[in-house]
């Protein structure tokens, strides 16, 4: 039995583990790193222009955003200046004269914010104080 084989004969698992951990590490060939670097896919350095195909989606996004902004601006302009909307009074005249008290007490009725106005029963029957 050779010397090397004798050494392994009664090796324990612990000792074998230690031997495995201390196995000599093979050196990687020096040319390998250069080969790997040469195979890097289309590496770009910072600051180099990107290909046109990468710009296209950005240009498309920019165009859509610009079009949307222009549309909003046009609508706002039309609403504020372009459309002739007839001036509407804030309060519509209360022209209904079917109830005679309404014409007489219109002011009280409209401005009775505390809800204190009590219609006069006499007036509802058609007698106007005027």
């Amino acid at each position: 039995m050779s010397n090397g084989r004798k050494k392994w004969k009664d090796i324990t698992l612990k000792s074998l583990e230690a031997q495995l951990r201390n196995l000599p590490e093979p050196d990687a060939p020096e040319t390998l790193k250069a080969k790997l670097l040469a195979a890097v896919p289309q590496a770009r350095t910072a600051g180099m222009p990107q290909p046109l195909i990468q710009w296209f989606p950005r240009a498309w996004d920019f165009g859509v955003t610009a079009a949307a902004a222009a549309l909003i601006l046009a609508l706002l302009t039309m609403v504020n200046y372009g459309l002739s909307v007839p001036a509407q009074p804030l309060l519509t005249e209360f022209n209904d004269t079917s109830l005679c008290y309404a014409a007489w007490d219109r002011g009280n009725f409209l401005y009775d914010q505390n809800n204190t106005f009590m219609p006069d029963n006499n007036l509802t029957r058609g007698s106007s104080p005027q």
Binding site: G4, K9, R21, P24, P26, K33, L37, A39, T45
Partner: protein, 185 residues
């Protein structure tokens, strides 16, 4: 700290920065080469597989989610490359032939293999490693030589961590049996 620089490198790779590629290659290529060399026992094939591993990593960089470290992910790719190459070509026997040749021929050659098998003691251990099947060999190399944890090994071998632990322990016992001469070649 290392994790942080790894993340920065990955960001750089995704942006196509050459310096990020260079950093990742420098950090990992020797380890991947060593792993594949131990698996194949063939320095030329190991070099080819290392190159294929990195090429696949660059091509699939978007699939890397950062669940494991980049090094572990590269080991996983390298292991798959090894399995594929084993299916493709049957070069396993070349190692044994090379070993036999080296015991007779002591001339200095540039071959990492030569250094590994320089003394008989180491040569016998290496020979015993090669008597294991490829997955047992991978477990031994990943855990004891590459220093990966069982969790990382589980990622590489695509098996549960418990199974990997049991597998490594069994492979170690088998290796011991080979060294004791209790298992036939």
């Amino acid at each position: 700290m290392q994790h942080r620089s790894e993340r920065q490198n990955l960001k750089g790779i995704r942006k196509g920065r050459l310096e990020a590629y260079e950093a990742v290659i420098s950090q990992n290529y020797a380890s991947i080469y060593r792993f594949v060399l131990y698996l194949t026992g063939d320095s030329t094939l190991a070099e080819e597989l290392t190159q294929e591993t990195f090429a696949s990593a660059w091509a699939g960089i978007d699939r890397f989610k950062g669940k494991a470290s980049f090094g572990t992910w590269l080991h996983q790719i390298a292991y798959r490359k090894f399995i594929d190459s084993k299916r493709r070509i049957h070069r396993n026997n070349a190692f044994m032939a090379k070993l036999r040749q080296e015991t007779c021929d002591t001339s200095e050659t540039f071959d990492p293999f030569h250094r590994l098998t320089a003394d008989e003691h180491t040569r016998l251990l290496y020979e015993a490693i090669y008597k294991l099947d490829s997955s047992e060999r991978a477990a031994i190399v990943l855990h004891y030589i590459q220093g990966l944890s069982f969790r990382e090994m589980a990622e590489v071998l695509d098996k549960p961590a418990g199974t990997v632990k049991w597998y490594t322990s069994r492979a170690l016992k088998l290796l011991k049996a080979h060294l004791n001469g209790r298992v036939g070649p």
